[in-house]
Symmetry: C2
Subunit: 386 residues, 2 copies
């Protein structure tokens, strides 16, 4: 097991009716900026619930934060924060709204010349403006971690940011919100969370037995509840396990003491930037090829995953490991998630080279848990994903 | 899944050499009371390591905190805190030292008439004197939770206490400390942690699929590493998994969203108070009888545990559930932990009635996850444990 540090101060309020407790978590004198996305919360009743719970507080609203939160839109929200002397941020949404709120939390207190520096100079935020979240879309675990991904539309680029000052003070997770999530988003959420676990698990054994078993637990639970969630998102028991699994998949716990890969995300981000493909779907496109390309380096864990998560008992270690990749693809397909790039765009040719060149241009070499994947390797993996 | 709240702000520093980072976690102007137990840390080198890491800080020492930390001893430490104007507490030890430190954290800032009230009136501590821990004995998870158990020797009683103000600010977990722990304490630690998981798991199904799998993960890991830890406590990989499993067993996570039992602990505490039997061993005495007595109420989970943790595939649900209890006893025996009261004391007769009477006298009725176990039931369970 590798050395690690773990600190996660976010308070989780989980369960039916927890939105009603929102007002207990906010400072009484807070001047709140309530942030949300494209307005689905106004259709599913969550907007009303949140507004009711905020009765008595001074609240300014900023809606319209897009999926893959864009820097340009967030700058508009930053102007509101300054003009209105906002003291507390409240994200009501999924990973995009929460990530955008994290950027604003950092930018609101940033003392440098331009908030763009937070992204381009990878500045770690030690202290941000305090914020809480009401989660409406389980997937990213942004509600219980301190990281965010921000997109700059004009350059088609995604940037990771974060820091210990960017944990939400609280997050409210009411699984009843799952009932009104469209099928497409449900499938994305399950795929996203599942791949988050894979990124932290599918590396090489370091004797993190408990971490491995926790990771397997999350994947087993997602596999178990996925068909129920897709069939009937109002199935509370399934929704609750889906929601909690998504949070636990990327709140830091299973990453502690073990290596992380994250190459699938690095490559997937490029596909979103170039083609606007949903984040989760880019992961499903890249992951199987990534595991096939790096088979020798990952086969110990692939085989353990095959045995413990998929119950594959027949065959050699290599056979079990290979079958586990197929099982993973089949799982994505069962969610109606396609796993090749050509199924998403007719313009796929040349993509692999383009992405490899972008990595080269940025000076990014050495992806994966061994930091040994070159842009040329990336090109091969993406080509395998066509 | 039941509604829940989760917040655990303790920072964990886990791994080889982490004691050297102690000074980074302490406020620069802290006046520290360093608390420890019977002096084993002076033999195994941990005392030296801690003192070196505290170089430059003002430190007062208070050693001699006994197993099952006694109120009377802690009052002496409280006098030192006040006389020396201590501002920060540092527990260097196992669960007893850390629990004692939590009482002191609460008592140091308590504004009522007598610190005894904290125990007898079950006062929840919202804010205590800040403290950190250096864990020397994995078992109780006190290093990452906000609860404590304090003994009053003169009345042979144990009291639970806690509150959100009693999380350690940080805890340092270096698995290398395991190498110098005596066999008896290793066996106790494994048994204690294993039973902590059972108390939060062996109830009835509520659809907490992920919680169940996490609980099973901890038990599987403990079962896997126990023989290695006992055989060679210097086996770092085994020690690290043992240590992290103990922390995860009772840091709150697996309890969230599911019912808790804790009747085994309530009965076990009495056996420690009456006979001075090691805490962990009292749990091993009571648990099997408790599960047999409450078989019908617990058999769903007993069978799931038998199948998933012990790999029992043959038999009816009842048979698997019963076999799982036997497997649990065998596991304790494999650690050289005896599971009947008469193996610990010749004076066992009348114990069950005595404990039942104590429960009646305190007005404590309704143990267990259904709060339906009467003192008469307790008497039967303890008699089954003779």
């Amino acid at each position: 097991m590798l050395n690690f540090e773990l600190k996660n101060p976010t308070k989780i309020l989980f369960g039916k009716g927890q939105i009603d407790n929102l007002n207990k978590e906010l400072p009484k004198d807070a001047k709140i900026l309530m942030l949300y996305g494209g307005g689905s919360i106004k259709k599913n009743g969550i907007y009303e619930q949140v507004k009711n719970a905020l009765h008595g507080f001074e609240v300014v609203e900023f809606g319209g934060i897009p999926a893959n939160p864009e820097y340009e839109v967030l700058l508009q929200a930053l102007k509101v924060i300054k003009a209105e002397k906002i003291t507390y941020l409240l994200a009501v949404g999924g990973g995009s709204v929460i990530d955008g709120t994290k950027f604003l939390s950092a930018a609101a207190l940033y003392e440098g010349d331009s908030p763009w520096d937070i992204l381009i100079k990878s500045i770690k935020t030690e202290k941000g403006m305090p914020f809480g979240t009401v989660l409406t879309l389980p997937a990213t675990a942004s509600e219980m971690n301190s990281g965010a991904v921000i997109t700059r539309a004009e350059t088609q680029e995604k940037f990771a940011m974060g820091g210990p000052g960017l944990f939400p003070e609280f997050s409210i997770l009411d699984p009843q919100v799952v009932a009104s999530i469209p099928q497409r988003q449900l499938a994305n959420g399950i795929t996203d969370a599942f791949t988050h676990v894979l990124e932290q698990y599918m590396t090489y054994p370091v004797g993190g037995y408990l971490q491995d078993r926790f990771a397997e637990s999350i994947m087993q639970t997602l596999i178990e509840v996925a068909p129920r969630v897709i069939k009937n998102p109002a199935d509370y028991e399934a929704a609750a396990n889906f929601m909690w699994s998504c949070t636990m998949a990327l709140n830091g716990l299973i990453q502690k003491g073990v290596p992380g890969d994250w190459a699938v995300h690095m490559m997937g981000h490029e596909l979103t930037a170039l083609f606007g493909i949903d984040h989760a779907r880019t992961l499903a496109i890249v992951a199987p090829s990534h595991y096939r390309f790096n088979f020798e380096a990952k086969k110990e864990k692939l085989a353990q995953y095959g045995q413990r998560v998929w119950g594959i008992t027949e065959g050699t270690k290599d056979e079990i490991a290979k079958a586990a990749i197929v099982k993973t693809e089949e799982f994505f397909h069962s969610l109606d998630i396609k796993t090749t790039l050509s199924e998403y765009t007719p313009d796929f040719k040349g993509t692999a080279e383009k992405i490899a060149n972008r990595f080269t241009d940025r000076g990014w070499v050495g992806l994966g848990e061994h930091k040994n994947l070159s842009p040329a390797n990336v090109q091969e993996i993406i080509e395998m994903s066509y």
